[in-house]
Structure formats: structure tokens, C-alpha cells
Symmetry: C2
Subunit: 203 residues, 2 copies
DNA sequence: CGTACTTTTGAATCGCATCAAATCTGGTGG
DNA sequence: CCACCAGATTTGATGCGATTCAAAAGTACG
């Protein structure tokens, strides 16, 4: 995990954070296996994942590894804002670009800057919305149902851009990539779906 | 949907809301089929579900009904705090006790009362945490895996109270109740789990 | 004591995971 | 430019686990 020079903040953060907090952010490039924090440590920084993947995990009652969150884009463990210490480990599972925001200044800014607090709340609301959709999606039984639900909720008027290939979509849907490929093929044959120019479209 | 006299607020709300907002809350008893709000309407009140079930839904691209959220306990559509109008319908699917908080005063309180804003943020963080766990849980393949994950994350030191019977647990896990009954029986036989006194316990 | 709901067990079926293998792709280095 | 490799895509075959349909037994409650 190495700090780099300061490339520009991602737009999402640029628009969210108040001006005086932005210079306090630091950039990190991390590689597979790095740990952003570990159990019981005191939160010092809030991490934002710009690319790659970070997993939150802890050991279960039976000593097994338990995944709590998988972040590919967005904040890691927002709740660390109020926690005295972490309840899990954060492990980098795919080389990631990260932005770290110092916690205490962040908390101060939220208390003293109502407009920022409202933006922060709006951000959390969006995140909640997304997660609720994902829960509903994952509780659908068929692969086709999940895929269509994804396109209808994450897509734009029935069109979903495929940034990272169907395989990563399969992971997001919680199905094997084979099943997804077959389902897409089947839906295309049924004229329900069309795959072209890096996007899926409902007909 | 009828307004009632004012029973005490649920503790969760009592502790969350500032004193001057609490009297503005109203109570509703709603029955199956009632609608809390509908598409394109302007949000006037924020709803909190104390019991029963409310579903957020909208019609999909193909005219099919699309479930966005299922609330049995907690706020409905927190994002309405910032939205100019609803993007879905809220339908009562099981007779519910509701508390309604007027939106504008709520928004004002968040802007003017930093301590309240921080409590609100903490509440959203908790909700995010819960939902992330649920997503991870739903992406597990086996019924046993999901059940153990539930007990390890929602339970207290390997013990999960069964408030509403195993059947509702099955719904939460996204599996048929038959499958869950069988799995519990199997895990008991394997001495992994014990079911007694209205709770499940990992051995 | 009857009605509604949960719990439980059984049997048949089906969809998806899994394992395997072939093809295709973009990117790298010789 | 080509050989080569890693990863994505695709198709096939097999088996398991969960759904589904059915039905019986248990339980709460008016």
C-alpha cells in the first residue's frame, strides 16, 4: 500500500466533500492482500474505493471466514464514522485505487457544515436505495428474473452498459457465469433482450 | 388507513428524534392494500413501520410489477427526504402500525440540529450495515450457509431469538419454509444447531 | 370446538452449480 | 508480424439441492 501524488479526486467525492476537507484526503494504491484496517483498531481514516475490490470480513463463531461487505466502488465501512473501533478486517482482494479521508476532520465538518451533512445523508440514502434493490434482486429465484431486475433498476430506460464484461455481472447477480451466458443467449433467442455495443437492452 | 390517538413512540424513534419534532408525528393503523403514497406524488411525510409490512414497488419496463423494498421494521424510502416526488408506490401488504413524520420539519431539524443530524447519519449507517449483511447472506448458495450467517451476524453470541416463527425467517433468507425446516432439523441432528425456548443457538 | 396458521414430512421435478473443454479475445514480448 | 498467454466467452454433460405440490399434525385464539 503506497501513497501517491495527488491525482484529482473522483467527481463523486469532489462534489460531496467541502473544499477545506479535500486537501486532507490522501491517495493510496494497494495490492492484493493489503489490509486497510484490522479488528479492534481505532478508525483513523475513512476509505473510498475508486477501483479494485476491498472485502470486509471477520471470523465467524465456528472459526470460519465471514464476508460482511464487498466494495468495488464507494465507501468502506461508513459506520466507522461513529465506531470507537473496527469490528472486522478490510482486505484488498483486487488491486485498488483508494482515497483516504481523515475521520476526525470529516466528523467535524459534518457537525459544523449543515449543507455537507445533508449531502452526506443524501449519499447514504442513495447507497441504501441501491442495496435494497440488490437485496430484492438476490431474493428472486431465476437467473432471468435477476438479470431483468438489474437492467430495469440499474439501467437507463431498459439499457444497461457492460463496463467489465458479463462475468462481473454474473458475480453481482450471485450466479455462475455459465448460467448467465446461457440465460442471455436464451433471452436473445426469445427476443426479450439484445446484446450489442457493450450493452444489454430490453426489447 | 386511520389516525389513532397517540400511543408512545417506539424507542428507536423516541431516542432518534429531537423533542420538538416528536409531537408532530402522527400514528396510523393501515390495512392490507392501503397505499402510503403513489408514483409522482410529492413527499409530505416520512413513514416508519413499527409492525406489519409495506412494499415499495413500481411497474417494470415490460409492465410487470417490480419490488424495490420490503419493510417490516424501519423507515420507508428514506430518500424521499431529498426527492421532489416519489418514484414508486408504497403498498401495505400486511396490516401495519405506522408513524408518520412531516418531511419539511424533519429536514429543517436536520439542518439546524447537528446532533440530530449525526444521530440520523448513525441510523443510516446501521441500516447500511444490516443491508450489506443481508446481501452477502443472499449470495450464499446453501440454506444452511444462509442460516448460520444470519445467526452469526444478527444473533447475539451465536443465539438468535425467533420472534415470529421459522417461517418468517425463511422469507428473510429467501428460501422456502420447507427447505428451512428441513435444514434446521438436519443441523440439529448434526449437533451444529439447537432449537429451544424460541431461539436458535449454534453449538 | 372450529378456524387459521405454523410446523412437519414425503415425493417429484427442475434449475443452477459444477466440472470440462473448446474458442475467442486482447495484450506482451520476441 | 507472429507466437504465446491470460482471461473472457461459449457449449456440453452431470448431479445436487432447493422448489413445488401435497398432506398431515400441531398450535393459538376467538
Amino acid at each position: 500500500m503506497t501513497a501517491t501524488d495527488t491525482p484529482p479526486l473522483p467527481p463523486a467525492l469532489q462534489d460531496l466533500l467541502p473544499a477545506d476537507l479535500r486537501p486532507a484526503c490522501t491517495y493510496l494504491k494497494s495490492k492484493r492482500g493489503d489490509r486497510l484496517f484490522t479488528l479492534r483498531k481505532k478508525p483513523q481514516r475513512m476509505f473510498y474505493v475508486a477501483s479494485g475490490e476491498v472485502v470486509l470480513q471477520r471470523v465467524g463463531v465456528q472459526g470460519d471466514s465471514l464476508v460482511l461487505q464487498r466494495v468495488r466502488q464507494g465507501f468502506v465501512a461508513e459506520a466507522s464514522l461513529q465506531s470507537a473501533h473496527y469490528h472486522c478486517d478490510a482486505v484488498v482482494t483486487s488491486p485498488a485505487d483508494l482515497i483516504a479521508i481523515p475521520i476526525e476532520p470529516l466528523r467535524q465538518a459534518l457537525v459544523t457544515d449543515p449543507a455537507f451533512a445533508m449531502r452526506w445523508i443524501a449519499m447514504l440514502n442513495q447507497e441504501l436505495k441501491r442495496l435494497r434493490l440488490q437485496c430484492e434482486r438476490l431474493s428472486l429465484r431465476g437467473v432471468a428474473d435477476r438479470l431483468l431486475h438489474l437492467i430495469e433498476t440499474e439501467g437507463e430506460r431498459g439499457r444497461l452498459p457492460l463496463r467489465a464484461g458479463l462475468k462481473s455481472v454474473a458475480a453481482e447477480l450471485g450466479v455462475s457465469h455459465e448460467a448467465l451466458y446461457r440465460t442471455v443467449a436464451e433471452l436473445e433467442k426469445q427476443q426479450v433482450l439484445q446484446r450489442a455495443e457493450g450493452e444489454l437492452r430490453i426489447l
